[in-house]
């Protein structure tokens, strides 16, 4: 659905920026949060359609950040 695609593209995920700032690899993060590398890659590359609160909590704990540091809205 076109509108759904636009909605998900309007949310930017800054996982790569946070990882480099903390000197952490995707593999290390995957081990810490208990999410597969495949799913984290989907999230990092902006291909995720939705994110669970539980995933958000786990990422914020592991990266010591706020949800707003991880996700931002940009006008399409």
């Amino acid at each position: 659905m076109a509108s759904g695609e636009n909605e998900t593209q309007a949310i930017a995920v800054h996982l790569d920026r946070l990882l480099s700032a903390r000197g952490m690899t995707l593999t290390e993060l995957a081990e810490r949060v208990g999410i597969t590398i495949v799913n984290l890659s989907i999230l990092k590359n902006g291909r995720a359609k939705a994110i669970r609160f539980s995933t958000l909590v786990a990422l914020c704990e592991a990266l010591e950040c706020q949800p707003g540091d991880l996700l931002t809205y940009r006008r399409p």
């Binding site: 998900t8 984290l40 989907i42 291909r47 359609k49 939705a50 994110i51 669970r52």
Partner: protein
């Protein structure tokens, strides 16, 4: 964890048998017809065709064993022809083909639906499309087939009597409702397909 049952059963097995068993029988009948130089008796077309006439008025001379007091007997008149000419055979065939095509077509579509659902997964857009097509097939067929058969029977009766009686089409309400139900179910399935696709992208 309990083993998950195949969600396509028992309809997948039933559809397989419902389509292939009659298909094999038809194939054999067709082969026998060809071998016996066009003898259509294998398709049950050697039976006499008959038209029931009006019942005669109650007659006191009609006896019916075991008839309860207060009832009366009537005599039915029937006109039959045992040696069918080409025209009569044509109308007999036309009178049977729509119902046959509707039934066998529905069995074929159901069988193909289960095969594709097993291959592509239940929550796939083409599967919902196939359910929708089967629904329309049954809905349209439930109306068109009886009308066509009724017309063919009227023309067939016209070969036996001068003024045949038009028998209205016998539209099957269960088939019609099944078709409409499948069209609705296909719409629900499309929503399910979208939900499934969204879940696949959920992290």
């Amino acid at each position: 964890m309990a083993k998950e049952r195949d969600p396509l059963q028992p309809i997948a097995s039933a559809a397989y048998m419902l389509f292939w068993f009659p298909a094999i029988l038809i194939g054999l009948a067709l082969a026998a017809t060809i071998l016996h130089k066009g003898d259509l008796s294998y398709f049950g077309l050697n039976r006499p065709i008959c038209v029931d006439g009006q019942a005669s008025r109650p007659g006191i001379d009609v006896t019916f064993p075991g008839a309860r007091p207060g009832t009366y007997g009537v005599t039915l008149q029937r006109v039959c022809d045992e040696s069918l000419d080409a025209g009569q055979t044509f109308w007999v065939l036309i009178g049977r083909i729509p119902g046959f095509v509707l039934t066998m077509g529905a069995f074929f579509l159901l069988w193909r639906l289960t095969v594709h659902a097993a291959k592509d997964g239940i929550y796939a857009s083409p599967v919902a499309g196939r359910v929708r097509f089967l629904g329309w097939w049954l809905t349209a067929g439930a109306v068109i087939a009886p009308v066509a058969e009724s017309f063919a029977n009227f023309r067939r009766d016209g070969t036996l009597v001068d003024e045949p009686t038009w028998q209205g089409p016998d539209i099957s309400l269960p088939i019609l409702l099944t078709g409409l139900g499948l069209i609705t179910f296909a719409r629900i399935m499309r929503i399910g397909v979208r939900m499934s696709q969204d879940l696949e992208g959920t992290v």
